[in-house]
């Protein structure tokens, strides 16, 4: 995609928003300029930044945890038919369950604070990464591993030169597919049992304080966070998996 086209699309969206605000002419829909102003104001003088950082931390912690646990598990399942036969039915049942419905349960069990939010996002990312890495690892040609072993590679070198680079694209694809869902679930999870995070911030300003500019600032912040994470994964993919886009 060209940068110019992206910029044009952004402009078009802002124009539609502005037009809507102009036609509606009510405080529940401020124009983009007013919302941006509020975003800057709340970031600099309000406590939006603190909430943004709280949400970001939850996303990063759960992502790191999900990669750390799901990628090795996926590699193990992909490499061992027996292990996969054992766990495949379980994964098949758990994978399609929308993890967001588990929110109340996770909250009951893990209470207040960051932990339940991190666990919820973790659950979404974990299965996504697990399944994709498993399939990728199963697709590694045995000839490839054999010829690298013939060069003298043991477990460590095989991991470094074969299994890790082979599973990277799967991890990044999983992140790309699920980062949007993760942010959405974060929003839902932050509506409950917390006083920190963008979900709480948006809800508080929108439904309790009726501070619509601040609510829009929060929505913008959360949207930009999701967008930024998506772009980040895209960028990592172009850096780390350049070989996939050549022909």
């Amino acid at each position: 995609m060209k940068r110019r086209d992206l910029a044009l699309a952004t402009l078009a969206l802002l124009l539609v928003w502005q037009l809507g605000a102009y036609l509606l002419d009510k405080p529940i829909l401020p124009g983009p300029l007013a919302a941006l102003q509020a975003l800057l104001y709340e970031l600099l003088y309000g406590d939006l930044l603190e909430h943004l950082l709280a949400s970001l931390w939850r996303v990063f912690a759960s992502t790191a945890l999900a990669i750390a646990l799901a990628a090795p598990a996926g590699l193990a399942l992909g490499q061992s038919k027996r292990l996969n036969n054992l766990f495949a039915p379980l994964i098949y049942l758990l994978y399609p369950i929308p993890k967001v419905v588990l929110t109340p349960i996770v909250l009951l069990f893990f209470g207040l604070g960051d932990l339940p939010k991190i666990i919820l996002i973790f659950l979404i990312l974990f299965f996504q990464i697990l399944v994709l890495v498993r399939d990728q690892a199963a697709a590694i040609r045995p000839e490839l591993a054999l010829s690298v072993r013939s060069l003298g590679a043991g477990r460590r070198a095989l991991f470094r030169f074969v299994y890790l680079p082979a599973s990277l694209p799967a991890i990044l694809t999983a992140l790309r597919q699920s980062v949007g869902t993760a942010v959405a679930v974060l929003y839902v999870a932050e509506l409950f049992a917390t006083h920190r995070g963008l979900g709480y911030y948006i809800y508080l300003n929108g439904s309790t304080l009726y501070n619509y500019p601040a609510m829009y600032a929060g929505i913008l912040a959360l949207s930009l966070m999701g967008l930024g994470l998506y772009f980040g994964v895209d960028w990592l993919e172009s850096k780390l998996c350049a070989w996939q886009s050549v022909t």
Binding site: L144, L146, S150, G152, A153, W243
Partner: protein
């Protein structure tokens, strides 16, 4: 003696043994072709020689030593899929050397004095890969891919080179070119060469001695001497045609 198989038996589960009390020897510096129909155990034999599979009984000795793991001075080149798709030509060619900085030539710990990189550039140039060194395998022709595999293997200075159907997916002129290159490198580097193939022509071009395998179980090695193979332009001689026909009859009789 480079290779010694002592009454070797190898079976896959639920099938007759591929090799049963099989004895075979290959001298240092010899060029061998292993010829046989698919399922005869050619590739299994190569994996046994590479230390990637181990016999149920009997032993494999390479350069006098029993084989317990892939040996640092044995090079293995497979038909396809041997290159890392995510690494460039240069990175692929470096792979053996980089693996060596994880593990020393003894297969264990990296010795501090080991210096990788030394001859890599020389090999890339020799094999005509310098212009492609930043390309990925998917961007190369089949011939260039096999050249990369050769560079990767020879950079480790092997004394035994094992090849599994190395050129069978290439077009005829490229195949002939790489066969000549293989013989050239074999003579120059004083390699012991074992090429596994199902193509009679390839066996006759590359093997001064040809080991014929048949449907399992293989008990006695059947060796055909082909000393004329080292002549230049051997492909154009009457001896070449005779040898091809003789092997074809032998394979048909065995099948």
């Amino acid at each position: 003696m480079m290779i010694q198989l002592d009454s070797l038996t190898y079976c896959y589960p639920g099938a007759p043994p591929v090799f049963q009390d099989f004895c075979w020897q290959a001298g240092t510096g010899e060029a061998w072709a292993v010829l046989g129909p698919s399922g005869c155990g050619k590739t299994t034999l190569l994996y046994l020689l590479a230390g990637l599979r181990f016999p149920a009984s009997g032993g494999v000795r390479i350069a006098g030593h029993p084989l317990a793991r892939p040996r640092p001075h044995t090079g293995l080149i497979l038909q396809d899929y041997g290159l890392l798709p995510w690494a460039t030509v240069r990175q692929n060619a470096e792979l053996g050397l980089r693996v060596r900085s994880f593990y020393g030539p003894d297969g264990k710990h990296a010795p501090e004095k080991f210096q990788p990189q030394a001859d890599l550039q020389v090999w890339l140039e020799r094999l005509g890969l310098t212009p492609f060194q930043d390309k990925y395998p998917a961007q190369l022709s089949g011939g260039q891919r096999q050249r990369t595999a050769i560079a990767r293997t020879l950079a480790l200075k092997p004394d035994l080179l094992l090849m599994d159907e190395p050129f069978s997916s290439l077009d005829a002129p490229t195949r002939a070119g790489l066969q000549n290159l293989t013989l050239e490198l074999w003579a120059e580097q004083k390699l012991t060469l074992v090429v596994v193939t199902h193509a009679i022509e390839e066996a006759v071009v590359l093997g001064q001695r040809i080991l014929l395998l048949e449907a399992p179980p293989n008990r006695q090695p059947q060796v055909i001497e082909n000393p004329a193979a080292r002549q230049p332009d051997f492909r154009d001689t009457a001896e070449y045609n005779e040898m091809v026909q003789r092997l074809r009859r032998l394979l048909e009789a065995g099948g």
